[in-house]
């Protein structure tokens, strides 16, 4: 059987360019030799359809559908792929964070209210400075908590936090 060889028209770097406009370090993805070591050693690949080698290939081919796939949400961010990759500067966990970011922006990511665990943790972090129900030892001084709130302005963590408040109000009604 004749092997299909990619032609130049199979590759479109617009998507890749968009991603590196956001995170420049992902420029190094172009060095990928598609050896598959990342996927062979990946815990998420063992239990889901997550396949980092294919994700890199799809990004380099300009396949934006990767943002709709649930696969990118299965990454363990364990950084094993980064360690075993024969190339020096390819950072797949950073690419996944990059893709998840784009996915969120386009409204394909998980809904904030679905991130129940994060709603609780975000609320605690923005009110106590810790993800715990009760702080370890002395609580964080109030002005320090204010600093964290200021740092997190306009971040998704705030929307997650707000989503919890809206849900609470609805439940009270």
């Amino acid at each position: 059987m004749e092997e299909k060889i990619d032609s130049d028209s199979d590759w479109n770097y617009n998507f890749y360019q968009d991603l590196i406009d956001d995170i420049n370090e992902n420029r190094n993805l172009i060095q990928c030799i598609s050896c598959g070591r990342c996927t062979g050693d990946c815990p998420a690949a063992k239990i889901s359809n997550f396949n980092p080698r294919k994700i890199v290939e799809r990004v380099l081919k300009g396949d934006k559908c990767v943002l709709r796939d649930s696969d990118i949400w299965y990454c363990f961010l364990c950084e094993r792929c980064k360690r075993v990759c024969p190339k020096d500067k390819i950072n797949i966990p950073l690419l996944i964070i990059n893709l998840r970011n784009e996915s969120f922006k386009k409204g394909f990511g998980p809904r904030y209210t679905d991130l129940r665990k994060y709603v609780e943790m975000a609320e605690r972090f923005l009110t106590n400075g810790t993800v715990l129900e009760t702080p370890l030892g002395e609580p964080l001084p109030e002005e320090r908590v204010d600093e964290l709130n200021e740092i997190c302005n306009f971040a998704r963590i705030k929307y997650v936090f707000k989503a919890s408040k809206i849900k609470e109000k609805k439940q009270k009604k």
Partner: protein
């Protein structure tokens, strides 16, 4: 701006203080980073704190430290600049009061190193500085020079508890009351220790640091055992265990089963997140429900093990709530007078 890695140069300490690396830490101020999961495992903090005090070192915690926020960064709930700003805020506060920051958790250690690494990107650095400047202009809280700036060439150095304990291993061994009585130990480093960014162009650097837990186990009188899933993830996977429990627990099961299959008495880890995943009764129950496998092998944090070996009160080493008959048995074997 010097944005060099803040990780402590272990080789230099070993070289300069070859007689006794503990001397490097004397007359220095040490601070213990508060990891959120210490709440469930108080022995993780207490184990190291009590040892440091026994070694007459100056040790504190920082009351202005917040959580490392790694979990929010990993779920894209904060930006890279916000993550870096939270880190810089913590580093500034701790640099103000200490020379050395010790980490009992792979996640926190990785977060602070990564936060610093992210700042190498000029765009992120500018945004981070802008965020910190915003805090200054709002004059929130007590200020001191440099508080709202990215730390430039700070004195503060970061070290993981495992690296620290390995560095002063002779002193640790001297402080022990019991030994491991040839118990078989399966070590689990945890991804964020094992896969920390390494210099791939330096072959020695790339392969080093993988035997510290095994070496400590041997020094403590135990037998480190090799097992197939030694380098695999515990299953936590940046909250995958919460989001996709059935899939993630398969990874946990593989790990625990693999250690049981080679006859290990317990797993030893330097990370409370891995400890949480590998030992939470709810997860062990779910494994039984999903896969029909009964797992009994317990997991112990390195700091807890040192507390047990030093003969500290049982209650302070291992919390009652996670006690299992197997853990109880191991505790009894270790603390039995030989």
């Amino acid at each position: 701006m010097d944005l060099d890695n803040l990780a402590m140069d272990l080789e230099e300490i070993n070289h300069v203080y070859k007689e006794n690396p503990l001397d490097y830490f004397k007359n220095k101020k040490l601070c213990l980073f508060k990891a959120c999961l210490e709440k469930f495992f108080p022995g993780v903090r207490w184990g190291i704190e009590d040892l440091l005090l026994a070694l007459e070192l100056d040790v504190t915690t920082c009351k202005s430290q917040s959580c490392c926020s790694g979990t929010f960064f990993q779920r894209n709930l904060i930006t890279r600049a916000q993550f870096a700003a939270i880190n810089e805020r913590n580093l500034n506060e701790i640099d103000h009061q200490a020379d050395i920051l010790l980490f009992p958790c792979n996640g926190c250690y990785n977060s602070l190193l990564r936060g610093r690494d992210i700042l190498k990107d000029e765009g992120v650095r500018e945004k981070t500085q802008e965020i910190l400047k915003g805090l200054e202009s709002k004059a929130i809280g007590e200020s001191y020079p440099g508080k709202y700036k990215i730390l430039n060439n700070p004195k503060l150095r970061l070290i993981h508890d495992l690296d620290f304990l390995f560095l002063i291993k002779d002193e640790v061994v001297k402080s022990l009351k019991y030994d491991l009585k040839s118990l078989k130990v399966a070590v689990h480093y945890g991804c964020h220790y094992l896969n920390l960014a390494r210099d791939k162009k330096n072959a020695i650097d790339y392969v080093k640091n993988k035997n510290k837990l095994e070496d400590l186990v041997t020094l403590f009188g135990g037998l480190p055992v090799d097992y197939k899933e030694k380098e695999s993830c515990c299953g936590w996977g940046a909250s995958q265990i919460v989001l996709h429990p059935k899939e993630a627990l398969k990874i946990t099961l593989n790990k625990l089963k693999s250690a049981e299959n080679v006859g290990a008495d317990f797993l030893l880890t330097p990370c409370p997140t891995c400890l949480y995943t590998l030992s939470k009764p709810e997860y062990i129950e779910k494994i039984k429900k999903y896969f029909g496998e009964k797992i009994e092998i317990p997991t112990i944090h390195l700091n807890e093990l040192i507390a047990i070996l030093r003969g500290c009160e049982e209650e302070r080493c291992i919390t009652l709530r996670r006690k299992t008959p197997r853990l109880e048995e191991i505790y009894d074997i270790i603390t039995r007078d030989s």
